[in-house]
């Protein structure tokens, strides 16, 4: 610690820290534009000039390290003069368009000019004008307002890992942009809106819709990934105007992914369901809640009477709240059925009993940064959980070995130490080879059943490298990622990943899909979580149900096998859907559509992968008659005369769910059990990648996100050999067939896709018409009709 004095106040500052950091900690205000605690120091705006005793000239507080006995004056005549001069200089070329600038009211330049500038300008010459840049559908630009602090440039290079923004030109001709016009391809791009101290970079969807002082701020939690990023949901008259990050160093720091920031735009989507609907023959009738719930209860009772309790099942979104999951499972179990599940994309339940109590990460989210070696199996973490990707990126830049085993060579914005890429079925052998290498390093025997299998497994340098890195690391972790959960070989991959972690002395955990896989597991929304036990999602879909309760899902998008899901729903006698959106598809098979609150209109709890129970209250009003789903389930329980459905507040449900969960030991690793080994096949395999802007009904309807390059998923990606064998060229059209269904898509040829595979993403309008996301598929070239 170093003793310094700022404005006469004695302060202890960390050695090597800058004056501005010491001042911030002591609550002493120093104006700044370019300095940001999460970015490198540029010291180019000069707004933070302060007087330092014995220094002949004012010094920039952001780039002046503290030294023992230093005396700093931030408000002395010399400091104020320097700050006033900087302000005048910065305003020379800044337009006076505050009345039409979205940043007005929350603009650092406006505020600092008020506090440190003059009230009148001496500048009479013309100001410069800079053409705006096209940064895509999320960020609006008014580059004339830019003050060249380069925060956005540094964010791109240092945090987001997309060095596409830069400062070109010199002096007065400096402009910020991409030089060669292109859309910034980051999943974190929206953060530059918060970083830009002026109105040069603002939110495009929010543009011209409000002023900050009209907005009310509500704490929220992200409903899209398992990190549970903390949100500041800003509303005006009950409507969500925009979503900003709420600082939480342990989760999202001060960042937010674009998905979390812009998905609110779907709340006003035209497909929102406003009133309960019931089917009457082929027509749909709007009814009162009372009628709808009676109708729903009556239907479920009828099915139970006719087909028995096992004919009933509940399939709920992995982003449903704890309260919703708890009430749904209680409702089903109250009716005598244990058929309840949220693992809708999973098709391999072979070792369901080896599932941990909940799919935790196995370490704190922030710990990812401090790992020395990490192996992720089936993960495009950068896109799956963008802010976990950011942590791993920091680790990788620090020199940690971040490694992957993936069904295709996904792109990453940090150095990947080893990228094992293999066709889905061959991924098991790749992982087994890593395990074999570790067994050799450790000099131990393989666990039960594995020895025979390992005989045919060849260990190559790449496997040895992964094994050595994990083994040698002080802090190592093995993670089963989002892209693995749907795979036909999930149980084998999971068992081997567990084994690899165990042999390497590494931690083990998961990064599952959805916002609440952990919470729903703990709340018992699983077929084996309580009595009676029931069937898992795969069996419910495959074997069929007579009465179905759906919560927050679109089965043709959100299930492992859309074709099977449709068949199941078409054949069911009675389907109740609690949904925020009503689609023609739902009207085909549903009998009752109950409108529920979405995202920020809802209240409840998500539990993230580090086991934080994060509750949130409703920030906005749900449209029309829509209600929070927990209330709907609670009243439905009353209509079914079930015991213990008398909750008045969401907190009471939460406490009940907590009590149900009991004392929880947070442990994701499980003991070895020999998995089923996949048989190598000759058939073309589909890689059912889950793209980030298609993961749930809300995101799929967020127009700004759908306009980004990341949203494009209507492409069939083929490896070079497969493309050659099929006679398909890059950009040609191909027919993709599964079962009886066929869709025509554009083909791209890419060496990143392994042999005998085609990557056709899941959860897209095309995929909704196909079969299992992961499994055999047929592809053929489409003969283009010759234009006449």
């Amino acid at each position: 610690m170093v003793n310094i004095e700022i404005n006469g106040i004695r302060i202890q500052a960390r050695e090597g820290s800058m004056v501005i950091e010491a001042a911030d900690e002591a609550g002493i205000v120093i104006p700044r534009f370019c300095y940001h605690r999460k970015l490198s120091i540029a010291a180019n705006c000069r707004m933070c000039l302060v007087e330092v005793e014995k220094a002949p000239k004012p010094l920039p507080a952001c780039a002046t390290p503290v030294t023992e006995g230093m005396r700093v004056f931030t408000r002395s005549a010399k400091a104020l003069e320097a700050q006033r001069a900087t302000m005048e200089f910065l305003l020379i070329n800044h337009p006076l368009d505050c009345p039409i600038c979205d940043q007005g009211g929350e603009c650092d330049l406006q505020d600092i000019a008020m506090g440190f500038g003059e009230s009148e300008s001496r500048y009479r010459e013309p100001k410069r004008v800079v053409p705006d840049k096209n940064l895509g559908p999320l960020i609006a630009t008014d580059m004339t307002r830019c003050i060249h602090c380069t925060r956005c440039v540094r964010f791109g290079r240092e945090i987001a890992g997309v060095p596409e923004l830069g400062a070109t030109g010199r002096g007065e001709h400096t402009t910020i942009g991409t030089y060669v016009e292109k859309v910034v391809s980051s999943e974190l791009s929206g953060n530059v809106i918060d970083l830009c101290p002026v109105g040069a970079l603002t939110s495009k969807p929010y543009r011209y819709t409000g002023r900050p002082w009209e907005n009310r701020s509500h704490p929220g939690v992200s409903p899209h990934d398992c990190l549970g990023s903390n949100l500041d949901v800003q509303t005006r008259r009950g409507r969500v105007m925009r979503v900003l990050p709420r600082d939480n160093e342990a989760v999202n720091e001060c960042w937010l992914s674009d998905r979390d920031r812009f998905s609110y735009t779907a709340l006003a989507h035209g497909e929102r369901l406003h009133r309960p609907l019931i089917r009457q023959g082929d027509a749909w009738r709007e009814v009162e809640w009372q009628t709808a719930l009676e109708y729903a209860a009556e239907g479920l009772r009828r099915v139970r009477a006719a087909a028995g309790a096992d004919g009933l099942g509940a399939l709920i979104s992995p982003s449903a709240t704890v309260e919703e999951g708890y009430l749904a499972q209680r409702l089903l179990r109250g009716l005598g059925s244990g058929n309840v599940d949220f693992r809708l994309r999973r098709q391999d339940f072979a070792q369901e009993e080896a599932d941990p109590r909940a799919p935790w990460l196995g370490c704190a989210i922030a710990d990812l940064e401090d790992m020395d070696a990490v192996l992720l199996v089936g993960s495009h973490v950068r896109k799956d959980q963008p802010l976990a990707g950011l942590r791993l990126r920091r680790a990788a830049l620090r020199g940690a070995r971040v490694m992957f085993l993936n069904p295709a060579e996904f792109d990453f914005n940090f150095p990947v130490a080893e990228h094992l890429v293999a066709a889905p079925a061959a991924m098991v052998d790749e992982l087994a080879a890593v395990a074999k290498a570790l067994l050799e390093i450790e000099g131990t025997h393989p666990p039960e059943g594995l020895a025979a299998r390992l005989e045919n497994v060849e260990v190559h340098d790449r496997h040895l490298a992964v094994a050595r890195h994990l083994h040698a690391a002080q802090q190592a972790h093995v993670i089963v990622g989002t892209q693995a959960f749907g795979q036909a070989e999930f149980s084998a991959l999971r068992a081997l990943a567990n084994l690899v972690a165990h042999l390497a002395g590494a931690g083990f955990g998961y990064l599952p899909e959805g916002a609440n896989a952990v919470g729903l597991s703990l709340a018992g929304a699983l077929p084996r979580a309580a009595e009676p036990a029931g069937r898992h999602a795969g069996d419910m879909t495959g074997q069929g149900l007579r009465g179905v309760l759906l919560l927050g899902v679109e089965p043709e998008y959100d299930f492992a096998d859309p074709a099977a899901a449709r068949r199941m729903l078409d054949e069911a006698d009675f389907v109740v859907a609690l949904t925020a959106f009503a689609t023609d598809e739902m009207k085909r098979w549903a009998d009752v559509l109950l409108p529920v609150a979405a995202f920020a209109e809802n209240e409840g709890t998500f539990v993230n992968v580090q086991n934080d129970w994060q509750g949130f209250a409703a920030a906005a009003e749900a449209p029309g008659e829509a209600r929070p789903a927990w209330k709907v389930l609670r009243v439905l329980g009353n209509f079914l005369n079930l015991e213990g459905f008398d909750y008045m507040q969401v907190d009471e449900v939460r406490e009940a769910a907590r009590a149900f969960a009991g004392e929880v030991e947070v442990k994701a690793a499980t003991a070895w059990a020999m998995p089923r080994w996949p048989a190598p096949g000759e058939a073309l395999q589909r890689i059912g990648y889950l793209p980030l802007y298609h993961v749930d009904p809300l995101v799929r309807r967020a127009a700004p996100l759908q306009g980004t390059p990341d949203a494009r998923a209507d492409i069939a990606w083929l490896g070079e050999a497969a493309a050659a064998a099929l006679g398909v060229a890059d950009g040609a059209r191909v027919a993709v067939r599964q079962g009886g269904a066929e869709v025509v898509m554009e083909a791209r040829v890419d060496a990143a896709v392994p042999d005998r595979c085609v990557l056709v993403a899941a959860a897209t309008p095309q995929a909704a018409r196909l079969g299992p996301a992961w499994g055999p598929v047929e592809v053929s070239a489409v003969k283009e009709a010759v234009a006449s």
């Binding site: 290079r157 060095p163 596409e164 923004l165 830069g166 400062a167 070109t168 030109g169 010199r170 991409t178 030089y179 060669v180 391809s185 896109k383 295709a408 060579e409 996904f410 792109d411 990453f412 990228h419 990648y689 793209p691 390059p709 990341d710 494009r712 998923a713 492409i715 990606w717 791209r748 890419d750 060496a751 990143a752 896709v753 990557l759 993403a761």
Partner: protein, 170 residues
């Protein structure tokens, strides 16, 4: 959605063999993990190879060769005035108008050149012979006013001397 390998075509072939050898000599002057340090030399070399100006493709090729993000090459190329981003004439006349030259009459130099060539600062003659460019201090204030053509400095300029110099060029 993006996969790893789907990248644009390589542009390395745009750098001619002789240029590449010269760039390599510059790269060798810096530590092995600091190839980017050669960016200014590399840009000058490919600019010479291309008749005095840089295309975006050439800058991309330099970025690829030095393993740096293209934008960082654009930043350098747009910052320094000796890089040209548009075609220039056979002779690029860089007239200094900074303080010393201005005090010694650079305004007349510019006026004479503009009149004689029939173009304004920043333009190129229709026959592609001359480009006229305004630059900052070239460090030759002792001979102010001055300009630079190609790699040669010419000082103590007067209208007569300018005519002589230009008459001698092809």
């Amino acid at each position: 959605m993006m996969l790893h390998r789907h990248r644009g075509e390589s542009k390395l072939h745009l750098i001619e063999e002789a240029s590449r050898q010269e760039i390599d000599r510059w790269i060798a002057k810096y530590p092995a993990d600091r190839r980017q340090a050669a960016v200014m030399a590399a840009l000058r070399i490919v600019q010479d190879q291309n008749g005095g100006w840089l295309t975006t493709d050439l800058m991309d090729a330099v970025a690829e060769y030095l393993e740096m993000p293209p934008i960082e090459v654009y930043e350098v190329a747009t910052f320094y005035s000796m890089y040209e981003l548009e075609p220039v004439g056979r002779h690029k006349i860089c007239v200094c108008t900074n303080i010393s030259c201005m005090l010694c009459g650079s305004e007349e130099v510019v006026a004479h050149l503009e009149k004689r060539l029939g173009i304004r600062l920043g333009e190129t003659t229709p026959d592609g012979r001359f480009t006229l460019k305004e630059v900052e201090c070239l460090g030759a204030c002792v001979e102010a006013p001055m300009f630079q053509i190609g790699n040669t400095y010419y000082g103590n300029l007067t209208p007569e001397r300018i005519d002589e110099i230009l008459d001698a060029l092809d």
